[in-house]
């Protein structure tokens, strides 16, 4: 069994209006040194596999077919044996 920790990032060329709005909140808090706020996705789940290669393959399919949209997002993940 493995635990997968997936990070999905929107490409930097794609505008992140959420990040921009949150950054306005930082300014309202008086935090004037904050810049380039980006809001991305962190997803974790378990994979019932005995071999790391098999787990990796399944997570890659999950990420590329559903969790991330390859047109605008990139993904990376870590697997931890549990």
């Amino acid at each position: 069994m493995y635990k997968a920790k997936v990070l999905i990032r929107r490409r930097s060329s794609i505008l992140d209006p959420q990040g921009k709005a949150v950054e306005k909140g930082a300014q309202l808090l008086g935090l004037n040194n904050i810049a380039n706020t980006r809001i991305d996705k962190y997803i974790e789940f378990t994979v019932d596999a005995s071999e790391e290669t098999a787990a990796k393959e399944e997570v890659t399919t999950y990420c590329s077919k559903l969790l991330a949209n390859p047109i605008m997002e990139d993904f990376e993940f870590e697997l931890e044996k549990i």
């Binding site: 794609i14 505008l15 209006p17 921009k20 709005a21 559903l66 949209n69 047109i71 605008m72």
Partner: protein
Amino acid sequence: MSVKFGVVVFPGSNCDHDAYYSLKKVLGYDVTFLWHKDTSLQDCDVIILPGGFSYGDYLRTGAIARFSPIMKPVIEFANSGGYLIGICNGFQILLEAGLLPGVMLKNKSLQFVCKDVYLSTQNYDTAFTKEIPDKEVLKVPVAHGEGNYFADEETLKDLVKNNRIVFKYTSSTGEVDEKNNPNGSIMNIAGIINEKGNVLGMMPHPERTCNPVLGKTDGVFIFRSLVNNILN
């Protein structure tokens, strides 16, 4: 022969009844609902993916609905030339399913936009637009938080070159400008078709503007174009 419409119902669809009502009660067409877990299109001639928030729009809009059992026959239907319209969330599902190119981002303003917009038809020579009077600017409502259409340069070039941009957001007199762009969509794109011309995706809601009681009836042009195109 009569034309039969099928309106797909996903968990979270909320414009399915609007589409059903307009097509059946206002326009008098044959319509049936298609449940997302079904795998038969019940011999429908036109499939509509309605607006709403399918699967709560979790992950990304349309990302989960695209894997519903009904989508397998819908994709096969579209690939074999069947007419398919995705409205609002339906458009987002078509993008996620890869039936149309590009993605939808959050509205540039970050606000949910719910208002009437003006649309200028860019291509009158499609099964969906033939009946739209030449140069007439349509008034159709939008209601979405993520309608900011985006595609890479190569895709945009292809859309322009092959006349695949069907509708653009404009002023009431047809000017394409930033002021009349409700969501930040690239090139003011409001609706596009696939290469074969049988799949239309649009953010505005033509099904909400069919009944004369509600004012304008510009949505009728789109459905009537399709029906006449199939019958002829």
